[in-house]
Symmetry: C2
DNA sequence: CTGAAAGCGCTTACAG
DNA sequence: CTGAAAGCGCTTACAG
């Protein structure tokens, strides 16, 4: 691997000059610049990132912490964030945190070893030490799709409770009095959407019935199948179902159809997220839209702004 | 941020000793070790990754190059690879390459700046300079799900042509004489699966009919919808369709049902990949299975083995 | 068992 | 406009 000294030697100049050319600084004789550029081209030289970030004391890299079982919504969201971040000149480093084991702690440790310019949390970490760390070292952080009580880490998310409330109330107004719900308690969005569901029913004067609530461990299509099977056993007297994610809804519909129900003729199903795939499944899934692109761009921009503030003074 | 000198100072020892403790070397007085460990714990010290990889001349990191529009199959595959790599002690760095622009070149440049232990290509890069570079610098590389003619970079993939051949022949033997195909030409797997389709028909003595082939730009559900609409206009005289990916099949089925066809009663649809979602769509999609877990583990193991060989001699 | 010293590859004041 | 020098945070022979 060729390094800056090699280039300098070949050019008959000092590493300082090569560095200036590489970094596009002014005050370099244009003939020398041309020669160095030619040498760089020929030798395929690229500055070593580790050495560079060592002296610069930063990496121009933003970390994204995301569950390794990320769903379609999260996948689309991080894509947008990554693009946007790139346009701001950052690279992205993904931390996929596993659900089992000490993965959160490992993730935190890796985070500490990197000199990140910022971090975007798309995973609702439970370990409070994680947030404490972010705050203590002043690492610019943004929480995407959830917030963290008690700290003032900025977060970007929709009003989950209100979204669910509106959707459920709409169905009720359409005449559905017996509406079940498939939800999960692992994430705050699941709990909040459930609250919205209950509030809507209450508003409509429908008695609260806990047997209409099925809680699943995750928010996948598979969980939706289990959830719906459970529901058909526990409380099959319903005409509509609110699945708190599109993927839960997809699984639920599958089981309903297998059992001979027609959707939406016999049973209405409504989801939440508006992931791409939802318009491809048959029958079409009704869903609550999250403003994906907008959320992604805001997250990236916020992260960028924070990182800039945090790094001001470190520059030349 | 606390560094190794801070710890050394607080402990009243040299950085050398602290380093030995951090790296679990022998020959450290156990009381001193205990004190240092305590200090590390208290101060939240984690060695700076950049400094470390600078002197070690390696990063214990494997890069994964993947299209930013990765499909479900690729998503499941990289998850498995990442897990496996982690169990070998590697971190994973993702390079999402965009379809437009000079993204491949940028990706190559970033690659050069990192001291990766290896790279796994899940994206079929076109630029031959990319492969030349990998070979020239001896960066251990593995191609996942495709291969590269003319070089001996190891690759892991199924026999695409044969898989398609078997599936199509099976349908023909079931009585389907009029079978169309939706494919793409962007990736070699698309071309190979198409070849398998044609060979199967030939084997069955069915005349080659190019009008039964619809080529799409990508392999997504959306492309599948466009493809099927096109097909219904161009050559609607068919009883079966081979979509070369599950996602194409999902889009195709959607259009067929919208147009009043029943699947599979009126039209049989077969996909390829066996992604998780395929069993959740209604009707169930018939598909050709790729041995996902096996492929992922082989890829990671191969990458690990190469990296080890490549790095032998660099260790202490 | 331990520490001083050198060096990994870069950048950036500083002094011409 | 240019180069010698210092320093980023670490690890590892080397010499005790």
């Amino acid at each position: 691997m060729v390094n800056i000294k090699d280039i300098a030697k070949q050019a008959g100049m000092s590493p300082s000059t090569v560095s200036r050319v590489v970094n596009g600084k002014k005050y370099v004789n244009s003939e020398k610049r041309a020669l160095i550029l030619k040498l760089i081209e020929e030798t395929d030289y690229v500055p070593d990132k580790a050495a560079r970030s060592m002296v610069l004391r930063r990496t121009y890299t933003v970390g994204i912490v995301i569950p390794d079982t990320f769903n379609m919504f999260q996948r689309q969201l991080f894509s947008i964030i990554e693009h946007q971040l790139e346009s701001f000149g950052y690279h992205t480093l993904f931390f996929f945190v596993k659900s089992e084991g000490a993965s959160e702690d490992e993730c935190l440790n890796r985070l500490k070893g990197e000199k990140l310019d910022g971090v975007i949390m798309m995973h609702e970490i439970r370990n409070p030490r994680f947030y404490e760390y972010l705050i203590r070292v002043g690492l610019p952080a943004v929480l995407a799709t959830f917030d963290h009580e008690g700290s003032d880490i900025p977060s970007i998310h929709v009003n989950e409770e209100q979204g669910a409330f509106d959707a459920v109330l709409h169905l009720v107004n359409l005449g559905h009095k017996k509406m079940n719900i498939i939800s999960g308690s692992a994430s705050s969005f699941g709990r909040q959407r459930t609250e919205g569901y209950f509030r809507a029913l209450e508003t409509a004067g429908i008695e609260r019935d806990e047997s209409r609530l099925i809680l699943t461990k995750s928010y996948t299509a598979e969980a939706g199948m289990y959830g719906m099977r459970d529901m058909l056993l526990r409380n099959p007297d319903f005409t509509a179902v609110f699945a708190v994610t599109d993927e839960l809804a997809i699984g639920a519909i599958r089981v309903l159809e297998d059992e001979g129900f027609r959707v939406p003729e016999d049973i209405s199903v409504i989801g939440f997220d508006d992931i791409d795939i939802s318009s491809y499944i048959v029958p079409r899934l009704t869903t609550i839209r999250q403003p994906l692109a907008d959320m992604g761009e805001r997250t990236a921009t916020l992260s960028h702004t924070h990182a800039q503030m945090h790094n001001q003074g470190k520059r030349s």
